[in-house]
């Protein structure tokens, strides 16, 4: 992989130049109150690459919370058209674990019959990643993410103090850099590696990812499910903030004028009570413990079985969002180990 470097000052003018070119929508991490979010950049000055974690992961750009798939005139079957709404988009500062999550989403939406609504949005995106520069008390990414994030990143920024080292991951990323004030990298690989990993995680998965699935399967009937299930409020916060949760509901909407309608996808989640209810009212996952178990197994076993990579990227958002303090998958492992 080619390594280049750029001074922070020149990097910011590079971002400003990209914004003024208006060739794509430019999104980055900005501060909102005491939190950080991905949002459209107004100026490179707003870009905060020193953030701890964002409230929502960047999945919202590829699978918006509410997304129109079809438009139609009510009652007129002939009028169905499939629509997709997107701009070319460049996103600055996606932490490596969120990129690992995008890799999983890419797999899920292109597997079998591909979902054009997602795929087109991704094809029109350029992802510029980074490595955390600040602690976040719930994060355990180092213990669950390998290097799959390189499969989706176009460029990675490594903070060296006054400069960034840029890892040029894709051809698309390389082209994007054309015309910027780049220099050859002068740091040793060891220095770069140190800069990428010097912020240690505060948490970790207490078993290695390679045995996690087997470990959990052995504990399919453990009391942990009921214990955590009893504490769960079924609020769904943990799935909405999760970068690897992409389940959705399909709903119908009619304009107030009644002249036009649309079929939309909306975020949905298996922790919500009615997710698996069928028409006669039968709920295939009625107990909170069953829903809690399903969500955890999906991360630890079902996704890895399908896509080889661990289905939780350790961002810690769920743990932060959960009022019951049970949502972090690492906590399930911890509890089981303590009870053994």
């Amino acid at each position: 992989m080619e390594l280049l470097k750029i001074s922070k000052k020149n990097f910011l003018s590079f971002v400003d130049k990209k914004m003024s070119e208006k060739k794509s929508r430019i999104v980055g991490v900005i501060q909102k109150g005491s939190h950080f979010v991905f949002d459209d950049l107004q100026s490179s000055k707003d870009l905060r690459l020193d953030y701890d974690v964002t409230i929502l992961p960047p999945k919202k750009y590829f699978q918006p919370q509410k997304e129109v798939m079809l438009k139609f005139a009510p009652k007129n079957v002939e009028s169905y058209v499939a629509v997709n709404s997107y701009d070319p988009i460049t996103i600055f500062g996606i932490h490596y674990y969120d990129l690992a999550a995008i890799y999983l989403m890419d797999r899920a939406f292109s597997d079998g019959d591909g979902d054009e609504h997602y795929i087109k949005k991704r094809e029109n995106s350029l992802l510029i990643g980074s490595y955390p520069q600040k602690h976040f008390k719930q994060r355990f990414s180092r213990s669950v993410v390998k290097d799959q994030y390189y499969k989706v990143a176009d460029l990675m920024l490594v903070d060296m103090g006054d400069e960034y080292v840029i890892e040029v991951v894709s051809e698309k990323g390389k082209n994007y850099l054309k015309g910027s004030q780049l220099k050859k990298n002068t740091y040793s690989l060891k220095q770069v590696e140190e800069a990428k990993t010097h912020i240690k995680d505060d948490q970790k998965l207490p078993v290695t990812v390679d045995i996690a699935s087997e470990f959990l399967t052995r504990n399919y009937y453990h009391s942990v499910w009921k214990y955590f299930g009893d504490k769960c409020f079924s609020c769904g916060s943990c799935v909405f903030v999760c970068p690897t949760c992409y389940c959705f509901d399909v709903c119908e909407e009619i304009d107030l004028t009644l002249a036009a309608g649309q079929r939309i996808k909306v975020w949905d989640g298996c922790m919500l009570e009615n997710f698996a209810v069928v028409a006669d009212g039968h709920n295939f996952r009625r107990d909170r413990a069953d829903r809690f178990k399903h969500r955890t197994f999906r991360k630890v076993k079902y996704l890895p079985d399908r896509y080889r990579y661990f289905g939780c990227v350790g961002c810690g958002r769920c743990a932060d969002a959960c009022t019951a303090d049970i949502a972090g998958p690492n906590k399930v492992f911890k509890y089981i180990l303590e009870k053994q």
């Binding site: 208006k22 079957v77 629509v83 997709n84 979902d115 054009e116 698996a276 006669d280 295939f284």
Partner: protein, 307 residues
């Protein structure tokens, strides 16, 4: 939120969510809540295999997964039987012949009719489970010589809820297949209390008030003793019915020494997208819309609560 870039909306020609147009050609009530529909696609056949389903859309109302009840066809028609239970199914019920619906599909796995060639088939169908099973039954009857014994067991709640009654009569008459049926009860008084239900079609209720049911009464497993010896090595059971039926049917099949890889079932789950994306139909690591709805029981028997 300020947007710095103009929004672009494009038409997707190949969306997996885009329905095609089909026209309702025939409609006929079968029971107080189930209606038969025959739809026709414009210029091609649905191309389904027995046991598959399709998503039927009414613009402005929504979409519902429905099994195809007819066997594979060369023309553009396909048949469905739909129970009125909620918004979408009610909207489909109120369609007139000549009106149109949206169709996506066919989706999912099918009964392995090719692989079953040379074997005996034992169909066990409960209530509306006859609807998907019928596509396989009719297929097997069209290719009668490809299979050894064909036995069909059908059970429903009461005589007024029997589906495809003309065909049931024909199956009963045939001497190259075995057909037994049963009802749980002959008591029709519950229909009188169903004032909340729109019993627009009272035909079978009125009919069975004056007629006496002479056949078997009892749950579907009471039909098993009527069967002659079933050779477990050459027989495959195809089981489709309401969730409660599976456990008892499978217990009986085990008593007859059928192994789990000789038991084939079709499962129902909540479905939305039908194409393995939305997550609603997941049972553990399985997506019922893609890995199912038809399964060999030995592939899923490890899952707690699967039936």
């Amino acid at each position: 939120m300020a947007e710095t870039y103009p929004h672009k909306e494009v038409i997707e020609k190949t969306s997996i969510y885009l329905p095609e147009v089909a026209t309702l050609r025939e409609k006929r009530p079968m029971t107080p809540f189930d209606t038969y529909f025959s739809f026709e696609l414009r210029d091609h056949s649905l191309g389904h295999r027995p046991g598959q389903f399709a998503e039927i859309s009414i613009p402005g109302i929504g979409e519902a997964p429905i099994s195809v009840s007819s066997p594979p066809a060369t023309d553009n028609r396909f048949e469905m039987v739909i129970r009125k239970v909620g918004t979408v199914t009610s909207a489909i019920h109120s369609l007139e012949v000549g009106e149109k619906v949206g169709v996506r599909g066919p989706y999912g796995t099918s009964f392995p009719m090719e692989a079953l060639k040379g074997s005996s088939l034992l169909f066990i169908c409960g209530g509306i489970g006859l609807v998907p099973a019928r596509s396989a039954i009719k297929y097997a009857l069209e290719h009668r010589d490809d299979y050894k014994n064909i036995s069909i067991l059908f059970g429903c709640k009461d005589p007024a809820q029997r589906l495809f009654v003309d065909e049931l009569e024909q199956w009963k008459q045939r001497d190259d297949i075995v057909f037994y049926e049963t009802v749980d009860t002959t008591d029709l008084s519950t229909y009188l209390e169903m004032s909340h239900m729109d019993l627009s079609y009272r035909g079978p209720v009125d009919e069975w008030k004056s007629k006496k049911w002479k056949d078997n009464v009892g749950v579907i497993t009471t039909l098993f003793p009527k069967l002659d010896y079933v050779d477990p090595r050459e027989t495959y059971a195809i089981v489709v019915g309401p969730p409660v039926m599976y456990k008892f049917a499978i217990m009986n099949l085990h008593d007859m020494e059928l192994s789990d890889d000789h038991i084939i079932l079709s499962l129902e789950r909540r479905m939305k997208c039908g194409v393995g994306k939305c997550g609603h139909c997941q049972i553990e690591d399985i997506y019922v819309c893609q890995d199912g709805p038809v399964f060999y029981y030995n592939d899923i028997s490890y899952i707690k609560g699967v039936i």
